[in-house]
Amino acid sequence: MYAATATAILVTMALALTRALLGPTIYDRVLAVNMFGTKTVLLLSVIAFLNGRPDFLDLALAYALINFIGVLAVLKFVQDYTMRHSGEERGQ
């Protein structure tokens, strides 16, 4: 059962990766990265149980946290960037 769930998550990760590669806008990529990060957390939780070592859930927690910081950092970057280049159109 864990395996089935993990497979679904992996396939979704592949889909998210495709979106991250395709773009087209920068926000699509951020969205895909965020999605990918969440899926990683889920995958880790499930695999921790699949392998019978639930004490490794710390890692999943750490991933969740890092993912959030990463997304906020990206957003801050985009915001600063649009502020500085307010004339130029960003997102192509």
Binding site: T7, T12, A14, L15, Y27, N34, T38, L42, T82
Partner: protein, 108 residues
């Protein structure tokens, strides 16, 4: 044993449902026509799928430290996922990305 079996079935149903939503979200993020619809598909199912899958795993874990950790992860994701989605949509809107699909810029 029946209680254990019920628990198992419950957790399987939860996990299966979660997997389904997660997958649907992935398809949505890939197939939808523009950024905002993709975002809609992705963020909603993300949250729901996460809750379902993690609840399923919690049922399997029983009353252990692992369950508490899982609950912590769930709360964390529940807080951060919508926040990130909001901030993302907000940033996109502020930067002038239009919600109307026919005006989305072309490919990279």
């Amino acid at each position: 044993m029946t209680a254990g079996l019920a628990l198992d079935i419950g957790s399987w149903v939860l996990m299966l449902a979660g997997s389904f939503f997660v997958f649907v979200g992935g398809v949505g993020a890939l197939r939808m026509p523009d950024f905002y619809t993709r975002m809609h598909a992705a963020s909603l199912t993300d949250t729901l799928g996460t809750i379902l899958i993690l609840s399923g795993v919690i049922l399997q874990a029983g009353l252990t430290l692992a369950a508490i950790k899982l609950a912590a992860i769930m709360v964390f994701l529940l807080l951060t996922c919508p926040t990130a989605a909001y901030a993302l949509a907000n940033a996109a809107r502020l930067s002038g990305l239009s919600p109307r699909p026919e005006q989305t810029p072309g490919k990279d």
